[in-house]
């Protein structure tokens, strides 16, 4: 059984006018245990929404998402929170480190809501990402690259089976982007976690063997890419 299995997933948002806009419409998608897959999509193609649905941060309008054998879409919010805390790690484009916490505390937070804080594991992760000398630094005291490394360590802290990475190198320069990506892939591999990464950066995408255009499986994104008259909007 795949680690992640999605069927007939849909999600719409209401526009200010009240009109509903379909953002995600995925008939089928799956990810195997330990796999590393990159999704390519332009800005506004529903990549973040897709990841947020998988993480259970957003509730789907329809369809099913199964993560590690559990149906995320059937769970109420507390259940989705628990499942996310137990099985999913999330790396964000903007790192989303808590500014009042040290690097070590940020990593510990990654465990606090799942299996509980495992101090030695948190310290080992920070050492793995090369920050054992900076564990008591706050995010502002770290370089952008170091902040992203803390974010990676935090995403892996709870020994997740699935790591979601949303434009994880979007805020980094070329050099740091390459290093960050290498680190994410290595650490996921070492921890046996599957990686689902979304990006629109071709250099990043080029390093993955398994790359899917989001429009290949998200019919809403495919519709988005059509000329306006073909989407039924027509010239005004």
């Amino acid at each position: 059984m795949p680690l992640l299995e999605i069927n007939n997933l849909t999600k719409s948002f209401a526009a200010p006018s009240g009109e509903k806009t379909l953002i995600v419409d995925v008939p089928s998608f799956s990810l195997e245990e330990g796999a590393q897959v990159a999704l390519e999509g332009a800005s506004g193609s529903g990549k973040t929404t897709f990841l947020n649905l998988i993480a259970g941060i957003l509730q789907a309008d329809g369809g099913t998402i199964r993560v590690a054998g559990q149906e995320m879409t059937a769970l109420a919010e507390p259940g989705r929170d628990r499942l996310r805390a137990a099985t999913i790690g999330y790396v964000f484009q903007t790192f989303n480190l808590l500014q009042g916490y040290t690097a070590l505390e940020n990593v510990a937070l990654g465990m606090a809501f799942g299996r509980g804080v495992d101090g030695p594991h948190a310290l080992a992760l920070l050492q793995r990402v090369g920050l054992n000398e900076r564990m008591t630094y706050r995010p502002r005291q770290l370089s952008v690259g170091q902040q992203q490394r803390v974010a990676v360590a935090r995403a892996l802290a709870n020994r997740p089976r699935l790591v979601l990475a949303d434009e994880p190198t979007g805020n980094l320069d070329r050099h740091h982007a390459r290093e960050a990506l290498k680190l994410i892939r290595e650490v996921c591999r070492e921890n046996g976690a599957a990686l689902l990464l979304v990006s629109h950066d071709h250099e990043i995408l080029g390093q993955f063997e398994d790359v899917h255009k989001i429009s290949e499986f998200n019919r809403a994104a495919a519709l988005e890419n059509l000329p306006a008259e073909q989407k039924g909007e027509g010239p005004k």
């Binding site: 964000f92 903007t94 808590l98 070590l104 594991h121 080992a124 793995r128 949303d166």
Partner: protein, 432 residues
């Protein structure tokens, strides 16, 4: 990754529980947290002070430390009589003849009668003429008589000698062997100095009663003070040196009475106040003072209201200090939620933060209370001789802090609801 070097078993990795999250938040918003804590401390301190000082004052002034049951004095206000004779505060309503003192002393309903004669002061401290019985028979508390500190002795009734209260000694520097000249009148006037010189023979042990502010001299000394005129009989009388004073000329300002039973007091009151026309009996002393407190009750109610309003303002400050940070913390909540924190946990952390601010403030409020009471106690002692107790047991000591914590938790609910409703997807990252 699982092979962990031993140095990594270092214990300083936080558990990241609600307490930890709360402390981090308070540290991050230290200024607003400190302002809220100070507000709560002031509110708690003020509330406790108002209630405690009022309760202590009520207890002390309504008979707790009077020692006597009744005061007999000139026809007039009972309150003035009590304030003058018991608390040495008011002017004397006038004098009553010595014969009345003797009559009441012999009355079977009276256990002890001690005469007071006054009219002079030393640097503003009252000089009261009395008899030795005040020291030998009178108990200001059950089993406690006025005592003279080691090295001193009781005044000799035939000499110009004085026993002074402990507070007088501290304030004036008079001690055993010191000489002083009394000043005429109850208020200090440097031009009204008497020629007589008195010597201090004893300093009283502190009694924490108004008597600590008094200079006690033999009652004869008052009669014989230069310029004093006795009007006990129809004509004025000024005794010559060495001349015995006939009783009919003597007067007293008040007679302090210890009664054998309350029933005796009521029948005496009936006899003196209702049937007589010469004197007034203030009985029971506590009731007279309680009447005053009741009349002045509105002041306490206003003070109480102000204290409670301050408490509400403090709760509002907690609410504002946390609420104002919620917008900037939305992202923080969203991150915590994305990491798996339940809404309930975020809600609890905010309420716990508000409660903790209130709890720290309430604890500091007890120190504020001690500070306020310390100052108030000095003022009250200087004005009345009564000592307020810093450790006075009153339920407000725990009710106010507990109430403040409850109010703080309540104030935390509003921002907690706002935090509870944080939309994770909206606040966590730009949508792509």
């Amino acid at each position: 990754m699982s092979a962990t070097p031993s140095i990594y078993s270092s214990p300083h990795v936080p558990r990241c529980g609600i307490g930890f999250m709360m402390m981090r938040s308070m540290r991050q918003h230290a200024l607003s947290s400190i302002i809220a804590i100070v507000c709560v401390a002031l509110a708690t301190g003020l509330t406790i002070s108002v209630v405690s000082i009022n309760a202590q004052a009520y207890k002390v002034f309504t008979g707790g430390q009077a020692g006597f049951d009744a005061v007999l004095g000139a026809r007039g206000s009972q309150l003035q009589l009590v304030l003058n004779a018991v608390f040495h505060l008011e002017t004397s309503p006038g004098n009553i003849p010595w014969s009345l003192y003797q009559a009441v002393k012999k009355d079977p309903r009276v256990e002890l009668a001690v005469p007071y004669a006054l009219g002079d002061n030393y640097n503003g401290f009252r000089i009261v003429g009395t008899t030795e019985e005040l020291f030998t028979k009178f108990e200001f508390e059950k089993g406690r008589k006025f005592a003279i500190a080691p090295g001193g002795r009781m005044f000799d009734t035939t000499r110009r000698e004085a026993v002074i209260g402990s507070f007088v000694s501290r304030q004036t520097g008079l001690k055993v062997g010191s000489n002083f000249n009394p000043f005429h009148g109850l208020n200090f006037d440097p031009k009204a100095k008497h020629d007589e010189v008195y010597v201090v023979t004893g300093v009283m042990e502190p009694s924490n009663t108004p008597s600590d502010r008094v200079i006690w001299i033999p009652i004869e000394g008052v009669y014989r003070m230069e310029g004093h005129v006795l009007r006990g009989a129809d004509k004025e009388f000024k005794p010559a040196a060495g001349e015995e004073i006939p009783d009919e000329h003597k007067e007293v300002s008040a007679v302090m009475l210890k009664l054998r039973s309350p029933q005796g007091g009521f029948s005496l009151e009936q006899m003196i106040n209702k049937q007589g026309k010469v004197a007034t009996l203030a009985f029971p002393i506590g009731r007279t003072m309680a009447d005053l407190f009741d009349k002045m009750g509105w002041v306490n109610r206003i003070l109480g209201l102000v204290a409670y309003l301050v408490a509400v303002v403090a709760a509002g400050t907690i609410l504002a200090s946390i609420y104002n940070t919620i917008n900037e913390r939305r992202r923080e909540f969203a991150i915590l939620r994305a990491l798996g924190a339940r809404r309930r946990r975020v809600f609890t952390a905010i309420v716990a933060e508000a409660s903790t601010i209130a709890a720290i403030g309430a604890a500091a409020g007890l120190l504020v209370y001690l500070g306020i009471l310390g100052v108030a106690a000095k003022i009250v002692q200087a004005q009345t001789g009564v000592v307020l107790d810093l450790m006075f047991p009153h339920q407000i000591l725990y009710l106010a802090p507990l109430g403040m914590i409850a109010l703080g938790a309540l104030a935390g609910i509003v921002p907690a609801i706002k935090a509870y409703g944080t939309d994770v997807a909206e606040n966590i990252s730009p949508t792509s």
